[in-house]
Protein backbone atom coordinates (compact mmCIF):
# COMPACT_ATOMS: atom_id res chain seq x y z
CA UNK A 1 0.00 0.00 0.00
CA UNK A 2 1.38 3.40 -0.86
CA UNK A 3 1.10 6.64 1.09
CA UNK A 4 -1.49 8.01 -1.29
CA UNK A 5 -3.74 5.08 -0.63
CA UNK A 6 -3.17 5.24 3.12
CA UNK A 7 -4.37 8.84 3.03
CA UNK A 8 -7.57 7.79 1.25
CA UNK A 9 -8.07 5.08 3.84
CA UNK A 10 -7.54 7.62 6.62
CA UNK A 11 -10.12 9.99 5.14
CA UNK A 12 -12.66 7.22 4.72
CA UNK A 13 -11.98 6.09 8.26
CA UNK A 14 -12.73 9.61 9.50
CA UNK A 15 -15.99 9.56 7.54
CA UNK A 16 -17.02 6.21 8.93
CA UNK A 17 -15.90 6.67 12.50
CA UNK A 18 -17.28 10.14 13.17
CA UNK A 19 -20.88 11.02 13.86
CA UNK A 20 -23.38 12.38 11.34
CA UNK A 21 -22.78 15.90 12.68
CA UNK A 22 -19.40 15.83 10.89
CA UNK A 23 -20.77 14.14 7.78
CA UNK A 24 -20.77 17.12 5.42
CA UNK A 25 -17.18 18.11 6.17
CA UNK A 26 -15.80 14.57 6.12
CA UNK A 27 -17.67 13.52 2.99
CA UNK A 28 -16.57 16.64 1.12
CA UNK A 29 -12.91 15.96 1.96
CA UNK A 30 -13.20 12.28 0.99
CA UNK A 31 -14.97 13.09 -2.29
CA UNK A 32 -12.34 15.69 -3.16
CA UNK A 33 -9.52 13.22 -2.49
CA UNK A 34 -11.18 10.52 -4.61
CA UNK A 35 -11.74 13.02 -7.42
CA UNK A 36 -8.09 14.08 -7.26
CA UNK A 37 -6.95 10.45 -7.39
CA UNK A 38 -9.19 9.77 -10.41
CA UNK A 39 -7.76 12.81 -12.18
CA UNK A 40 -4.23 11.65 -11.44
CA UNK A 41 -4.94 8.15 -12.74
CA UNK A 42 -7.31 8.62 -15.70
CA UNK A 43 -7.45 4.86 -16.28
CA UNK A 44 -9.30 4.51 -12.99
CA UNK A 45 -12.76 5.88 -12.38
CA UNK A 46 -13.65 7.66 -9.14
CA UNK A 47 -16.28 4.98 -8.59
CA UNK A 48 -13.74 2.16 -8.72
CA UNK A 49 -11.25 3.94 -6.49
CA UNK A 50 -13.97 4.75 -4.00
CA UNK A 51 -15.18 1.13 -3.98
CA UNK A 52 -11.65 -0.15 -3.50
CA UNK A 53 -10.95 2.19 -0.58
CA UNK A 54 -14.21 1.27 1.12
CA UNK A 55 -13.69 -2.43 0.68
CA UNK A 56 -10.11 -2.32 1.90
CA UNK A 57 -11.09 -0.28 4.95
CA UNK A 58 -13.87 -2.68 5.91
CA UNK A 59 -11.59 -5.67 5.39
CA UNK A 60 -8.98 -4.08 7.65
CA UNK A 61 -11.52 -3.29 10.34
CA UNK A 62 -12.87 -6.83 10.30
CA UNK A 63 -9.35 -8.28 10.43
CA UNK A 64 -8.46 -6.00 13.32
CA UNK A 65 -11.63 -6.91 15.22
CA UNK A 66 -10.92 -10.59 14.63
CA UNK A 67 -7.37 -10.17 15.87
CA UNK A 68 -8.57 -8.41 19.02
CA UNK A 69 -11.14 -11.08 19.75
CA UNK A 70 -8.56 -13.89 19.61
CA UNK A 71 -7.62 -15.17 23.07
CA UNK A 72 -4.26 -13.79 24.17
CA UNK A 73 -1.53 -16.40 24.18
CA UNK A 74 0.46 -16.86 27.35
CA UNK A 75 4.16 -16.27 27.00
Amino acid sequence: MNAEFEELIRLYSALEESGPDKQAANLAVFEAAIKAAAEKYPALSALRISAYVKRQWHLRVLAEDRRKSLPKQRS
Binding site: Q23, L27, R48, H58, D65
Partner: protein, 146 residues
Amino acid sequence: MAGLEATLAPTVPRFTPNPHQDVEDLVRLLLRQSGEFERRKKLISAAVTWINAFSQFKHLRRQIGLPDNDLQALGYGMLLANLKSRGKGLLQLIGRGILDPSELPLSVEDLEACVRELQQDDILLDSGLLRNEEKLEDVAAIFGGT
Protein backbone atom coordinates in the same frame (compact mmCIF):
# COMPACT_ATOMS: atom_id res chain seq x y z
CA MET B 1 -38.78 22.90 21.80
CA ALA B 2 -38.92 26.44 23.20
CA GLY B 3 -38.79 27.83 19.67
CA LEU B 4 -41.59 25.57 18.56
CA GLU B 5 -43.84 26.61 21.44
CA ALA B 6 -43.11 30.25 20.79
CA THR B 7 -44.11 30.00 17.15
CA LEU B 8 -47.30 28.23 18.12
CA ALA B 9 -48.50 31.01 20.36
CA PRO B 10 -50.22 33.41 17.99
CA THR B 11 -52.92 35.85 18.98
CA VAL B 12 -55.61 34.64 21.34
CA PRO B 13 -59.08 35.54 19.94
CA ARG B 14 -60.47 38.80 21.21
CA PHE B 15 -63.35 38.57 23.63
CA THR B 16 -66.73 39.59 22.30
CA PRO B 17 -69.97 40.31 24.12
CA ASN B 18 -70.96 36.70 23.43
CA PRO B 19 -69.16 34.45 25.99
CA HIS B 20 -70.31 31.26 24.22
CA GLN B 21 -68.70 32.38 21.00
CA ASP B 22 -65.53 33.38 22.87
CA VAL B 23 -65.19 29.95 24.44
CA GLU B 24 -65.92 28.21 21.16
CA ASP B 25 -63.29 30.29 19.32
CA LEU B 26 -60.76 29.62 22.05
CA VAL B 27 -61.38 25.87 22.00
CA ARG B 28 -61.10 25.83 18.21
CA LEU B 29 -57.84 27.75 18.35
CA LEU B 30 -56.39 25.45 21.01
CA LEU B 31 -57.38 22.35 19.06
CA ARG B 32 -55.80 23.74 15.90
CA GLN B 33 -52.62 24.68 17.76
CA SER B 34 -52.32 21.36 19.56
CA GLY B 35 -52.83 19.51 16.25
CA GLU B 36 -50.11 21.57 14.63
CA PHE B 37 -47.85 21.11 17.64
CA GLU B 38 -48.35 17.32 17.55
CA ARG B 39 -47.71 17.19 13.81
CA ARG B 40 -44.46 19.13 14.14
CA LYS B 41 -43.41 17.06 17.11
CA LYS B 42 -43.96 13.88 15.08
CA LEU B 43 -41.94 15.26 12.17
CA ILE B 44 -39.03 16.15 14.44
CA SER B 45 -39.25 12.74 16.05
CA ALA B 46 -39.21 11.07 12.62
CA ALA B 47 -36.13 13.05 11.64
CA VAL B 48 -34.32 12.14 14.85
CA THR B 49 -35.25 8.49 14.33
CA TRP B 50 -33.81 8.65 10.83
CA ILE B 51 -30.55 10.20 12.05
CA ASN B 52 -30.25 7.44 14.66
CA ALA B 53 -31.01 4.79 12.05
CA PHE B 54 -28.29 6.21 9.80
CA SER B 55 -25.76 6.07 12.65
CA GLN B 56 -26.81 2.53 13.53
CA PHE B 57 -26.56 1.47 9.90
CA LYS B 58 -22.94 2.67 9.76
CA HIS B 59 -22.17 1.08 13.10
CA LEU B 60 -23.63 -2.23 11.96
CA ARG B 61 -21.77 -2.05 8.67
CA ARG B 62 -18.55 -1.50 10.57
CA GLN B 63 -19.23 -4.59 12.68
CA ILE B 64 -20.37 -6.87 9.87
CA GLY B 65 -18.54 -5.51 6.86
CA LEU B 66 -19.73 -5.06 3.32
CA PRO B 67 -22.01 -7.68 1.73
CA ASP B 68 -20.19 -10.80 0.62
CA ASN B 69 -22.86 -12.86 -1.12
CA ASP B 70 -26.15 -12.45 -2.96
CA LEU B 71 -28.32 -12.73 0.11
CA GLN B 72 -26.28 -10.21 2.08
CA ALA B 73 -26.25 -7.87 -0.92
CA LEU B 74 -30.03 -8.13 -1.14
CA GLY B 75 -30.53 -7.29 2.54
CA TYR B 76 -27.93 -4.55 2.44
CA GLY B 77 -29.51 -3.07 -0.67
CA MET B 78 -32.97 -3.07 0.85
CA LEU B 79 -31.76 -1.35 3.99
CA LEU B 80 -29.77 1.15 1.97
CA ALA B 81 -32.67 1.95 -0.36
CA ASN B 82 -35.06 2.35 2.54
CA LEU B 83 -32.78 4.70 4.44
CA LYS B 84 -31.99 6.66 1.31
CA SER B 85 -35.60 7.20 0.27
CA ARG B 86 -36.65 8.24 3.77
CA GLY B 87 -33.69 10.59 3.99
CA LYS B 88 -34.68 12.14 0.69
CA GLY B 89 -38.21 12.47 2.03
CA LEU B 90 -36.93 14.42 5.02
CA LEU B 91 -34.95 16.72 2.75
CA GLN B 92 -38.08 17.30 0.66
CA LEU B 93 -40.06 18.21 3.78
CA ILE B 94 -37.34 20.69 4.71
CA GLY B 95 -37.26 22.06 1.16
CA ARG B 96 -41.03 22.61 1.22
CA GLY B 97 -40.85 24.36 4.57
CA ILE B 98 -42.85 21.68 6.37
CA LEU B 99 -39.97 20.63 8.60
CA ASP B 100 -37.93 23.35 10.25
CA PRO B 101 -34.24 22.36 10.14
CA SER B 102 -33.41 24.64 13.06
CA GLU B 103 -35.31 22.21 15.29
CA LEU B 104 -33.17 19.24 14.23
CA PRO B 105 -29.98 18.06 15.92
CA LEU B 106 -28.23 18.01 12.52
CA SER B 107 -27.60 20.74 9.97
CA VAL B 108 -29.20 20.49 6.53
CA GLU B 109 -25.71 20.19 5.02
CA ASP B 110 -24.93 17.17 7.20
CA LEU B 111 -28.32 15.62 6.46
CA GLU B 112 -27.75 16.11 2.72
CA ALA B 113 -24.29 14.55 3.04
CA CYS B 114 -25.74 11.52 4.85
CA VAL B 115 -28.21 10.98 2.01
CA ARG B 116 -25.48 11.59 -0.58
CA GLU B 117 -23.26 8.91 0.94
CA LEU B 118 -26.18 6.47 0.86
CA GLN B 119 -26.79 7.32 -2.80
CA GLN B 120 -23.12 6.73 -3.63
CA ASP B 121 -23.13 3.40 -1.81
CA ASP B 122 -26.30 2.40 -3.65
CA ILE B 123 -24.57 3.09 -6.97
CA LEU B 124 -21.53 1.07 -5.87
CA LEU B 125 -23.74 -1.81 -4.81
CA ASP B 126 -25.78 -1.73 -8.03
CA SER B 127 -22.63 -1.74 -10.13
CA GLY B 128 -21.31 -4.75 -8.20
CA LEU B 129 -18.23 -2.87 -7.04
CA LEU B 130 -18.77 -3.56 -3.35
CA ARG B 131 -18.67 -7.31 -3.82
CA ASN B 132 -15.47 -9.32 -3.54
CA GLU B 133 -16.07 -11.05 -6.88
CA GLU B 134 -15.21 -7.75 -8.57
CA LYS B 135 -11.47 -7.83 -8.10
CA LEU B 136 -10.69 -4.21 -8.93
CA GLU B 137 -7.26 -5.37 -10.05
CA ASP B 138 -6.62 -2.17 -11.99
CA VAL B 139 -6.98 -0.12 -8.80
CA ALA B 140 -5.00 -2.61 -6.73
CA ALA B 141 -2.17 -2.49 -9.30
CA ILE B 142 -1.72 1.22 -8.64
CA PHE B 143 -2.54 1.52 -4.98
CA GLY B 144 -1.38 -1.88 -3.81
CA GLY B 145 -3.53 -4.67 -2.49
CA THR B 146 -3.93 -6.89 0.52
